[in-house]
Symmetry: C2
Subunit: 333 residues, 2 copies
DNA sequence: GTGAAAGCGCTAACAA
DNA sequence: TTGTTAGCGCTTTCAC
């Protein structure tokens, strides 16, 4: 990489002259500016980012800590973050916590020593289970802003972007009741997460409000054989006529299993799930989905963070709710 | 963030003494070392990464340019890269080219100005279609090593990690022939990519070798309605008794469509697809898959790159082939 | 055993 | 209009 020094030497001027010329300073003579720019162009000079970071005490880089990149929703949020960040001239350093508290702490530590201007993250499962938040508080106190999305730690004062999980599930369940469904089950493999719990509560509320019905909840653990669990639920409860799934996998498997059992979807049974567009393409009939607008969530998180980086003085933290929307396909009436 | 300067001031010693003490230099007195370390501990001192980068002309950061983070295979490779990089003390800056040549060029440019020590990337679709490779060559010439994986540009001299696409599809097709299948179709929505073409060729070779059979190839475009395309193929060709899918989506939709048409899988029709474990869980019966070992690919790419960063002098480039393996499930005999 | 100084690449206040 | 200097945080050589 060519540096200002080398350009200066070759042009027989000082380093600062070169710097000013390239930054269109009024101070420098037209002629010099032209000469400098030509040579810079020739050598494809680009200012060294690291030097700038050191000088400005700004890296123009955002640390993103994602629990699991193989989760479609999280991957999509990352996509949204990356796009917005790039648009605003920021890079993103990605760390994957793998749902581990230890890795989350380490990533935070490592990047906090000058590598980034702030963080966007979704709390790791282990951290949520243990309700560990000290590492977040410490980072914020160090002067590095954090924006949390989806899985947030409520007792940490920072900007947040969340989804209307409770309302969405409540409304979805109500809609199934309105279809005339009598035995609506809730299936989830994310019950350890804050969002999973919210979704369950939304379902419960709707069921209990209906008066005569009892909630049926199937919680699937990571280690379980998802297909087996769902199959056996269906076998035991022949009366099931609707499924609310807290995650795409549960939704897809429920629908496929129902079809496999000879049930007609949506005549005999309705399925609705938190899932994305491509998920709904992977079932026949296409799955009715609750969309979380992951990209929008990502973009919002990036906007909030960059805003805070650029205006560190503003005191009050914001919580942005990105509303879900229901895309009706053929798996519901 | 606390700096050496602040520590030095508080301890009434010089900056260099503090630096040496923290780096366990023999020069410094035991007593001083202890005092320095205690204070550093107290203030949670961490050396500033940016300053170190500037000094050492090494960022310990890898630039990763991924065409599409929503592609499960690519996301998994990213996971593998991240894990290996972290293990070796490197961070990754992630850019998403979104299959665009322009974005790919920009990301390369941007990060090449000091932000990273090298690149891992998979070539964007647009770049492959236009056979654009100049930007890669320029970057390498600048002294920044590149490792390409999966979709590689053959005429760029750099380390590569690829999959045995041709052989894998050839063998899969042979296996279906061995089952006694007579009308095997090839379905792909990645035909513009180098890997897609290789897979098609593997299929063709096996079919033609069989002598009496004709290849049937369905190429799906991004914009197409995948379900519709596949349904109409099945309608037109009642004799289809096996599918080789170049991507997971084509595989899943094929299987579901067949089931929907009342065909028994695998009695009436076999399906095999390039896909991952979780994909195979999303069909009933479970999909027989060709696994690409994405995480291994990622880890290998990271190893190759870090190796080259640390030994820039070594001349010859390597190409690592990560063999696929077939996981037999219930969608084949 | 400790400290001063130079230098990584850049910008900006100040001098000439 | 151009150049000198200091400084961002750190390491390292060389004096003391």
């Amino acid at each position: 990489m060519v540096t200002l020094k080398q350009l200066a030497k070759e042009l027989n001027v000082s380093i600062s002259t070169v710097s000013k010329a390239l930054n269109n300073s009024e101070e420098i003579g037209e002629d010099t500016v032209r000469r400098v720019k030509e040579l810079a162009e020739l050598y494809n000079y680009k200012p060294n980012k690291v030097a700038l970071s050191l000088k400005n005490n700004k890296t123009k880089t955002i640390g993103v800590i994602i629990p699991n990149i193989l989760n479609r929703f999280l991957a999509k949020v990352l996509f949204g973050i990356e796009r917005e960040a790039t648009k605003q001239g920021y890079n993103i350093i990605t760390c994957i916590s793998n749902e581990s508290l230890k890795k989350e702490k380490e990533s935070l530590q490592l990047l906090a020593s000058g590598s980034v201007d702030g963080f966007i993250l979704s709390v790791a499962e282990e951290s949520q289970i243990n309700n560990e938040v000290e590492h977040f508080k410490r980072t914020i106190q160090q002067g590095l802003p954090i924006v949390m999305f989806d899985r947030v730690a409520h007792d940490v004062m920072c900007d947040k972007v969340i989804v209307d999980d409770f309302d969405a599930t409540y409304n979805a369940t109500k809609a199934l009741l309105a279809e005339g469904r009598k035995h609506i089950v809730f299936i989830s493999n994310i019950n350890d997460l804050s969002v999973g719990k919210l979704r369950e509560r939304g379902y419960n509320k709707a069921i209990l409000e209906a008066g005569t019905l009892e909630p049926t909840v199937l919680k699937i653990k990571k280690r379980d054989d998802h297909q087996k669990k769902i199959k056996s639920l269906f076998k035991k409860n022949k009366s099931i006529d609707a499924v609310v799934a807290a995650d795409s996998s549960s939704g897809i498997i429920s629908l496929n299993t129902a079809v496999n059992f000879g049930l007609k979807v949506p005549k005999d049974i309705s399925v609705i799930a938190f899932a994305s567009k491509s998920d709904s393409n992977h079932t026949l009939p296409k799955l009715t989905t609750i969309r979380q607008h992951a990209k929008v969530i990502g973009a919002n998180a990036a906007k909030l963070l960059i805003d805070r980086i650029q205006n560190p003085s503003v005191g009050d933290v914001k919580t942005k709710i990105v509303k879900t929307s229901v895309i009706r396909n053929k798996s519901t009436l």
